[in-house]
C-alpha cells in the first residue's frame, strides 16, 4: 500500500472505487441534499475539504496514535475540521449554510471520511493520504453534483438556480433555464427522486463499465473473435 501510484489513487477515488457509486458510503447526505446543483456543490465542497484535511492529519500522526484508541482520535480530528468548515460556511455563505442545515455537522458521521482515514490514510504517507482525500472527495462531489443536476433539471427545469448563495451576486446570471415554462416535477425534488436518481446513476456506471470491459476484451481476444458469441442476446 505504501507505494500505491498517485495515478491509481486518483482513478480509484474518481471512478473504480467511487465513494458514492461503488462503496455506497455517505448516502445520507448524498440523498438528502442533492435536490439542486448548488446544494450538492456546497455540501460536496465541504466534504472534500474535510476529507483532504482529515486524511492529511491522520496520516501525519499515524505513528503516534496507539491502535486501541485510533477510532476516537480519528473522529475527534474529523469533528474539529467539520466544525471549522461549518464556521467558515456560516461566516461566508450564510444562506447556503442555513439551507444545508444539519447536514453540515453531519459530515462528521459521513462514513466515507472515517472509512478513508481508517482504511487508507492511517497506513500511508501524508502526500498519498492527501491525494486520496482529494480524489475521494472529488469523486463524491461529482456524484452529488450529477445527482443534483439530474434532480434539478427534472424537478424544476433549471440548472444552478440560486448560484448567488455560493458565488455572490454575479452567480445569479449563471442560472440556466433548461426547460422554459416548466411546471415542475415534484417527485424528482422529493426523497423518492433521490433514490431513483441514484439508482439510475448506478445503472449508468455499470453500463459504462461493462462497455469498457467488452471493448477491452474484444481488443485482447481479437484473434478468437470469430468464435465468440454475444452472451445474453439470445435470451
Amino acid at each position: 500500500m505504501q507505494d500505491k501510484a498517485y495515478f491509481d489513487i486518483a482513478r480509484e477515488g474518481l471512478w473504480t472505487n467511487n465513494a458514492g457509486l461503488v462503496q455506497l458510503l455517505g448516502l445520507c447526505p448524498l440523498l438528502a441534499v442533492s435536490a439542486t446543483v448548488v446544494n450538492a456543490l456546497g455540501l460536496g465542497l465541504a466534504t472534500l475539504l474535510t476529507l483532504v484535511a482529515s486524511n492529511l492529519t491522520v496520516s501525519l500522526i499515524r505513528n503516534w496514535v496507539r491502535p486501541e484508541i485510533r477510532i476516537p482520535v480519528f473522529v475527534l480530528i474529523i469533528a474539529s475540521f467539520v466544525t471549522a468548515v461549518e464556521l467558515v460556511m456560516n461566516a461566508f455563505f450564510h444562506q447556503l449554510y442555513l439551507i444545508l442545515g444539519i447536514f453540515i455537522p453531519l459530515i462528521v458521521t459521513n462514513c466515507t471520511i472515517l472509512g478513508r482515514a481508517e482504511a487508507f490514510a492511517s497506513r500511508t504517507t501524508p502526500g498519498r493520504a492527501a491525494a486520496d482525500g482529494l480524489a475521494m472527495g472529488l469523486g463524491f462531489m461529482g456524484v452529488l453534483v450529477a445527482l443534483g443536476a439530474l434532480r434539478e433539471v427534472l424537478g424544476q427545469g433549471t440548472l444552478l438556480a440560486d448560484a448567488h448563495l455560493m458565488l455572490g451576486d454575479w452567480g445569479r446570471q449563471l442560472t440556466v433555464e433548461i426547460i422554459p415554462h416548466y411546471q415542475g416535477f415534484l417527485l424528482a425534488m422529493l426523497p423518492p427522486g433521490a433514490f431513483i436518481g441514484l439508482g439510475l446513476l448506478l445503472a449508468l456506471k455499470n453500463v459504462i463499465d461493462r462497455r469498457l470491459e467488452d471493448r477491452r476484451r474484444a481488443v485482447t481476444a481479437a484473434p478468437h473473435r470469430a468464435r465468440e458469441t454475444r452472451g445474453g442476446a439470445t435470451a
Partner: protein, 341 residues
C-alpha cells in the same frame, strides 16, 4: 369398441394470463361506462392515452431487455395497467398526465423490477402515486357529476382542456371543477360542519356521492362476475370491503355526526375499484389463502385511516402500495402447513 384414453392432468388447465386479463378488462366495462356517463369524455380520453402509452412503453422496454415482444404484449397486462391508471385520473387531466403516469408505471413500476411477475408493487398504483405527489393541483381537479349543478363540461371543452391545457375563453377552471364527495366531507368537517349538513348538499345521493355510488355499484357488479369466473379470489375484495366497513361502523357508531357510515365508505371514491381490480393484482398481492385475508384487511383499514385522518381524500393507492410492501412477510407467516407434516 374404442376406449378414449386421456392422459393426465385431467383437470382443466388454469386460465392463461391473457385470458384472465381480457376478463378483467371486460369486467371493467360497466364501471367505465358509468364513469364516462357521469364525468364526460375525459374519462375515456384518460384511459385511451394511458393504455396507448402503457403498451408503447411495454414494447420499448421489452426490446431494450431483449425479450420477445409479441409473447408479452399479447398478455394484455400492460393494457390492464393503462386502463386502471386511466380510470383513476380526474376527467380534465391534461393529456401528458396519463401519459407520464403510464410510462412511469410500466418502466419503473414493472420492467426495472424484471417485468410481469416480478414487480413487488402494483404498477398502475405506482404511476398514480407518482402523479398524485408530483402534480397535486392537476390531480385534484374533479368535475361535478352529471345531474349536479351544470354537470361536467361538454365534450368540446373537455377535449380543448385536455390537449391544449386551457379551457375555451369564457370558462374558468374554478367554475367548472368541483371537489369529490370524499374531499368535500374532509374539508367541510374541518370547517366544523356536521355530517348531516354536509350530506344535505347537492353532491350527495341516497347512499353516497351522486354518480360515485353508481360507478362503485357497477365496479362491484364487474368484480362479482370476476369472482364467479374465478379470475380473482373472493378473499381479497371481501377482506378489503369487510375491514373498511368494520372500521367505518365502529367510528360511525361512536360519532355519527362526524364519521360517515360503512355504506358511504363502501360506495365512495375508489373503494370498489380498489377492492376488486387493484388489490387483487395476482403479482403484488399476498398469495396464501389466510395471507390474502390479512393483506386485504390491511388495505381496508389503511383506506379508512387515510380517508379519515390522512392528508388525502382517498387512500386506496397508498393503502395498496403499503400492503404490497408487506405481502412477502404476510406470505411467510401464513404459509399453509404441508399435509402430513
Amino acid at each position: 369398441m374404442r376406449f378414449n384414453v386421456f392422459t393426465p392432468p385431467h383437470l382443466r388447465p388454469p386460465a392463461s394470463v391473457s385470458a384472465m386479463m381480457r376478463e378483467v378488462l371486460l369486467a371493467l366495462v360497466p364501471g367505465i361506462a358509468a364513469a364516462a356517463g357521469f364525468f364526460g369524455i375525459g374519462v375515456l380520453v384518460n384511459i385511451l392515452v394511458a393504455t396507448v402509452v402503457a403498451v408503447g412503453a411495454e414494447v420499448v422496454m421489452l426490446r431494450l431487455r431483449a425479450r420477445p415482444v409479441s409473447v408479452f404484449i399479447n398478455d394484455y397486462s400492460a393494457v390492464v395497467t393503462g386502463v386502471l391508471l386511466g380510470i383513476a385520473l380526474p376527467p380534465l387531466a391534461p393529456w401528458w398526465l396519463p401519459a407520464l403516469g403510464s410510462a412511469f408505471a410500466i418502466v419503473f413500476g414493472k420492467h426495472l423490477y424484471g417485468g410481469l411477475g416480478y414487480n413487488p408493487f402494483n404498477p398502475a398504483m405506482v404511476g398514480y402515486v407518482v402523479l398524485l405527489i408530483s402534480f397535486p393541483r392537476e390531480m385534484t381537479l374533479w368535475l361535478p357529476p352529471a345531474g349536479v349543478g351544470d354537470g361536467p363540461v361538454g365534450a368540446g371543452e373537455a377535449l380543448t382542456r385536455i390537449f391544449t391545457g386551457s379551457l375555451p375563453p369564457g370558462t374558468e377552471l374554478d367554475a367548472v371543477s368541483m371537489a369529490t364527495p370524499l374531499d368535500t366531507i374532509k374539508t367541510q368537517l374541518g370547517m366544523a360542519r356536521t355530517l348531516g349538513e354536509i350530506q344535505a348538499g347537492p353532491l350527495f345521493g341516497a347512499i353516497a356521492g351522486r354518480g360515485w355510488q353508481w360507478i362503485n355499484m357497477l365496479f362491484l357488479l364487474g368484480g362479482a362476475w370476476l369472482i364467479y369466473r374465478r379470475v380473482i379470489d373472493w378473499r381479497i375484495p371481501a377482506g378489503v370491503l369487510g375491514a373498511l366497513a368494520a372500521m367505518a361502523l365502529v367510528f360511525w357508531a361512536a360519532d355519527p355526526d362526524l364519521r360517515p357510515g360503512p355504506v358511504f365508505h363502501l360506495f365512495s371514491g375508489a373503494a370498489m375499484l380498489g377492492a376488486f381490480f387493484i388489490a387483487t393484482d395476482p403479482v403484488s398481492a399476498a398469495t396464501t389463502p389466510r395471507g390474502r385475508l390479512v393483506y386485504a384487511a390491511g388495505i381496508g383499514v389503511l383506506v379508512y385511516v387515510i380517508r379519515t385522518w390522512g392528508g388525502y381524500p382517498d387512500g386506496v393507492a397508498f393503502a395498496v402500495l403499503l400492503m404490497n410492501m408487506a405481502a412477502p412477510l404476510i406470505d411467510t407467516y401464513t404459509k399453509p402447513r404441508v399435509f402430513g407434516q
